[in-house]
Symmetry: C2
Subunit: 347 residues, 2 copies
């Protein structure tokens, strides 16, 4: 066992603070990673505060982890000491179900999440990346392309794959018109990736306040959704809409912006379930779908794609003592576009 | 002009009764059809009673039309006098938009419906199949396979294509598990067609009352949806669900019955919009879609498929004077499974 420094919560109501946690000794298939940076995802807040009613404490959040390989187990051939690596939302899965066998571990019914989950021994609490070190089975460790700065690459492990996966699955490419609803942590990654895939990209934001930024990130067009004319002008316009926001929207109005056979993909779960009329689906054979992070194979593919296209996240680097303040700013959508913790500040 | 006998309504509140209507003289591209049978669709009732708030009167309903070619225009090569033909929900479309050019006229924004619509001259009211004769452009006339009895074939023109189209579009075939929600006019056709496509077919009905009938029609399994155990037992079970009912259901619960990447297709529009949680879509990359009748090319393909597999509708043949009674029985779902009017009773 290995005592290491971390930052986390003991219950749903107190702020995050320093914790000591234990990491398992390296096994034959494990990779030990000295964490250098960890991105801050909105779901860290939901879980730290038990907003999904399934939190296990003490909890060290963080699933956008990057670092340097410190040690490898005797069976590990894929990684060596010094490699730049990453860990996302999953550290293991059942490896036996159809989803796992097809490399879609995100849909496994027995996933081991990076934190807020029991490890494979069914008794140790898995702890996340707001910590100095992590030990992970080699099959769930990702390689970070050498040209990507590690701090800016960290958010690719969740925000990157969550947007790459639907764009890839729904065949985005040249000649396709893609709309991105919301320009936050997920949205800004979706714009960069869809643009690199050579689609025509439109950002649909509540106002035009983020218009210049959207274009800088790679969007071809920006429309304000608080202007009813947007919904007339863009009627039957898009092949795919990626909805990155978790607030309750009038899904029917957005479905009307899709061409025949178009699809709107939901990445977030609104607390209040929207009402949905069947007609916008029926009248043009549209669909409404959902997507959840990505599998390990696809996550590596996304990282390689980002390496080729020099895509990283726009980040605000913080020291660990600013994490509680960062949480409050995320809730107010006051970040462009992802906080990343410099783990050196924890050592 | 040609004065002919019909049955229809003068306004939203009175029962159907005899009417005289006028059919255009045959044009160069037209086919004149002596109607022999016309199916009765639930949408006939919605429109006769102005329940969709878009009714045009006087109205002769009926879009499940079959008959015998009585005459053909000078340009007509595809049909000859004496041929067995059918007409469905569409008698023309713009022929210029992408949907029309791709043979998906059902999604054209300027369709000419068989009734409750203006004809291409933009002034004559189109009138449907509760009548002795109809004149239709040859491109919207379908050929009925010789082995199918005309009366039982009539409902294929709407109920048949409405269920064939999504089963075909979503690639139903051997090894696929398909659920059909509701065993009515649409549902019983969906069961027959999915069975002929060699899928494993399950009927999901409120109770098991129609269980024997479902199996006779080709269903492999029947489950009652008023039994909560059904939703546990069939969790993540189906590749495709065809929802033929227009009442408000808990779509989220039904989506849970789909495998990863499965799709539920809506064919009917509930008056009250159901609330929909995003999680059943996100957690297994499922989708909720809609489908609307079918294009002309696909409708002919469906008729040929039904000819090859000897598929027709289970019908109750009525004389025209029973139509008001039939409407009331349709509303009470008291028909197995489609009323068809014997147009000889109108002559």
């Amino acid at each position: 066992m290995d005592q290491i420094k971390a930052y986390g919560v003991l219950n749903a109501t107190q702020p995050l603070g320093p914790l000591q946690i234990i990491r398992r000794l390296i096994g034959a298939n494990d990779v030990a990673i000295n964490i250098t940076y960890c991105g801050v995802c909105h779901s860290d807040i939901h879980q730290a505060r038990n907003e999904w009613r399934n939190s296990l404490y003490p909890m060290v959040p963080g699933h956008e982890i990057v670092g340097i390989v410190a040690d490898v187990g005797t069976n590990v051939k894929k990684f060596k000491i010094g490699d730049k690596v990453g860990v996302g939302c999953l550290v293991d899965s059942c490896r036996d179900c159809l989803d796992c066998r097809e490399g879609l571990e995100q849909f496994c019914l027995k996933p081991i999440f990076t934190y807020n989950c029991l490890e494979k021994d069914n008794k140790t609490l898995a702890q996340g990346g707001y910590s100095t070190k992590i030990v992970v089975d080699q099959d769930f460790v990702l390689r970070i392309p050498d040209n990507l700065p590690l701090d800016q690459a960290a958010p690719l492990l969740c925000a990157g794959i969550t947007t790459y996966s639907p764009l890839h699955h729904w065949n985005v490419g040249p000649g396709k018109r893609v709309a991105i609803i919301g320009l936050g942590g997920l949205g800004h990654m979706a714009v960069k990736i869809a643009h690199a895939m050579k689609a025509e990209v439109t950002v649909l934001s509540r106002t035009l306040d983020k218009g210049d930024d959207a274009k800088r990130l790679g969007s071809d067009h920006v429309y304000a959704t608080n202007d009813p004319k947007t919904f007339e002008k863009l009627s039957r316009h898009f092949d795919l809409i990626i909805n990155t926001v978790s607030v309750k929207l009038d899904w029917g109005a957005y479905l009307g912006l899709l061409k025949r056979d178009g699809c709107m993909v939901l990445l977030g779960v609104p607390t209040d379930a929207p009402e949905l009329q069947a007609s916008p689906l029926i009248m043009a054979r549209r669909s409404l779908a959902g997507s959840l992070i990505g599998g390990i194979k696809e996550t590596q593919e996304m990282l390689n794609f980002c390496g080729q296209h020099n895509i990283t996240s726009d980040i605000e680097l913080i020291s660990i003592d600013k994490i509680n303040e960062a949480y409050e700013r995320i809730i107010k959508a006051d970040v462009k576009y992802r906080f990343v913790i410099d783990i050196a500040s924890l050592k």
